[in-house]
Amino acid sequence: MSAAYYEFKPHNIGRWILWSLFALVLLVAPLVFTSSLSQTLLSQMGIAIIVCLSYNMLLGQGGMLSFGHAVYSGLGAFLAMHTLNLVSKNGFPLPVSLVPIAGGVASMLFAVVFGWVTTKKAATPFAMITLGIGELVWASSLMFPEFFGGEGGINGNRVAGPARFGITFGPQIQLYYLIAVYTFACTALMFAFTRTPLGRMLNAVRDNPERVEFVGYDTQKVRYIAFIIAAFFAGISGGLAALNFEIVTSEVVGGQRSGAYLLFTFLGGATFFFGPIIGGILMVLAFVLLSEFTKAWLLYLGLVFLFMVMYAPGGIASLIMMNLRVAAFGRLKELWVSYLALAFTAFIALLGAASMIEMVYHLKLNAALGPQLHFLGMTLDAKGVNSWFGCVFVMLTGIGLFEVTRRHFLHQWGEIQEYIELEMKRRQNL
């Protein structure tokens, strides 16, 4: 049988290179960063990437703002942990490497039940209903200690069942490679999903539900199926987290966790497929490193989020793509002086502001340690006028200089965008 029409399908070389690079990074990362801290970080990043991508299936591709995504990753984690305990205690014949899939399937079943109610509505009511369901599950998690383990959670041991090819998943590096394989496979599958007719319909449902309805599709059904698929991947990430930490507590289904997924998927960039990958990496860095570095990390996070929503609603991914476009037209090199100046002035403003925030936190939390604190190699006196005056001065100088460079940059940026638009029109007419 021959095709009814001839279709020219060249190999998309750029895409092949990108995916090979992604695989290479996953493969090489633990060889470059060899400390045990970085291995833990890398493992958590893989888990976060999967869950952020699955969240973006709802937010970025379906326009569904969910406040309860942790329900699915969390329940997946619990079910995976119970499966793992079945394997280790009752000798259930399932390889440990497939336990995350059990978590994914379990989440999918939960999504079949909960999703039917949640996807009845779209947009704002959807957000509120997912919030309600999230609260429901979180409250139940404390109500059924037999299943959720109460406050202490449930734990297990990932070295279970017969070792295949000498892999026990005892050492972190073996688990990292398992997570890396899952991360690559899930990312590829989720990308493939965006190319399926269902994935395209989902985008249409996001952009123009009335029209989709008019063409004859059931928008609710499209959202429902996408919701179930997203829950499957969230469950896999939950299962991997269960293997990674070997303990699951009820906070994995809590609203805070859902909020974090939302926040970082958005920061990474919900409008591009690769945005949530950046978001997942940032999430681990923020939760593990930033929280070690400063007590005020939630405040910084909230402020960064606020500014991103106001000035770059496409997230970091959109900033990257805008600059790639400028680079494609060969005008990025004009901007680097401006970028340098912007970064430098922003750094000065931030330095002043951060010093003040740190001093306030110090006064509030470590008052017993005396007014002195060390911040970025400086010694600040939280009760002294000099320190405060210095910080205000540094911050105001930074803001003033930043404003000047920002105006200059905006002018330059606008000019380049105008040039690109004209150039694109010119090339079209050729």
């Binding site: 509120m128 309600g132 609603p313």
Partner: protein, 315 residues
């Protein structure tokens, strides 16, 4: 009978507090189409402002000063942040209020500390109003109910009987026409947002000392008021009123009932032992499931009446 009357009174007073909270949210949502995620944070701010003001000048001035301060903050947030993202659509509008809730929580912890503050009921209202069946009904609860009802009447009169209400309602549906008539629509929105925040602040002043004033207080009511708004019907003020009373009463009653399915089954002659399938479900007491009742209510309403109790439009 004793249990019934007291629970009903307590339920209604809790429901009225919920209404004070959700009315501001409903107002903002129905006027501007913005789902304010930081609404419960404004409630918390109201309580903390009232605590500080009470320390300085006493409770009665605080009753007016704290909501006013919250209103100023809300209006400033609308003017400098929310208005900027309006052109990006609904999701960024929701997200920016979500970010604000983080910042307010951190700020509150920074200024007032992480443990609860000693914000008390004023001496004048600290005592029983009357006794029924030997149980004292606190005067402060009556005061709460009084303020909530006063607020309901005031909002209703303002929206339906005054020129300002007319402009506000018209600005929602026909912003261009209202603008052409010479009204400043962005300023109307700013005032509506500030007003909604003030209502939340007032609820904070009243609720902060009836319950506990602590950094977690926004999270405890945050999701319940969303349930109220969905159950009542998005953007319907009367729906919010009915839903908040219903939820308040249901939850208060549930907390007081100590029976479980197991008890019901054994009185019907069934024997439930720890070996029975689903024992964890059978032995749950109604008082234990009280916290999830509003959410179960939400799910039921969605299944049987998706537009909410008194809602007029499908969301």
């Amino acid at each position: 009978m004793e249990f019934f009357t007291i629970s009903l009174l307590n339920g209604i007073s809790y429901g009225l507090l919920l209404f004070m909270l959700s009315s501001g949210l409903t107002l903002i949502f129905s006027m501007m189409g913005v789902l304010n995620f930081a609404h419960a944070s404004f409630y918390m701010l109201g309580a903390y402002f009232a605590y500080s003001t009470t320390q300085l000048v006493g409770f009665w001035p605080a009753l007016f000063v704290a909501p006013l301060l919250v209103a100023v903050l809300g209006a400033a947030f609308e003017k400098y942040c929310l208005r900027r993202v309006h052109k990006f659509g609904h999701v960024p509008e929701l997200l920016i209020t979500f970010g604000l809730s983080f910042i307010i929580l951190e700020m509150v912890q920074l200024i007032w500390g992480t443990s609860s503050v000693d914000y008390r009921v004023p001496a004048l209202l600290d005592g029983p109003l009357f006794k029924i069946y030997g149980t004292a009904f606190p005067a402060y609860r009556a005061f709460m109910m009084f303020v909530a009802i006063l607020m309901l009447i005031a909002i209703w009169l303002l929206l339906t009987r005054t020129r300002i209400g007319l402009v506000i309602q018209a600005a929602l549906t026909h912003p261009d026409t209202v603008e052409a008539l010479g009204h400043n629509v962005p300023r109307v929105f700013m005032l509506v947002f500030g007003g909604g925040a003030a209502l939340a602040g007032l609820a904070g002043v009243i609720g902060g000392n009836a319950f506990v004033t602590e950094p977690g207080m926004a999270a405890t009511v945050g999701s319940v008021i969303f349930v109220v708004v969905v159950v009542g019907g998005m953007g319907s003020l009367s729906g919010a009123f009915v839903a908040s009373l219903l939820i308040g009463v249901i939850q208060t009653f549930a907390v007081g009932i100590d029976s479980s399915l197991m008890g019901a089954a054994s009185s019907a002659g069934l024997d439930i032992t720890p070996q029975t399938f689903g024992y964890a479900l059978w032995k749950l007491k109604i008082s234990q499931i009280a916290p999830i009742l509003p959410y179960m209510f939400l799910v039921l309403v969605l299944i049987f009446r998706p537009k909410g109790l008194l809602g007029t439009r499908e969301g």
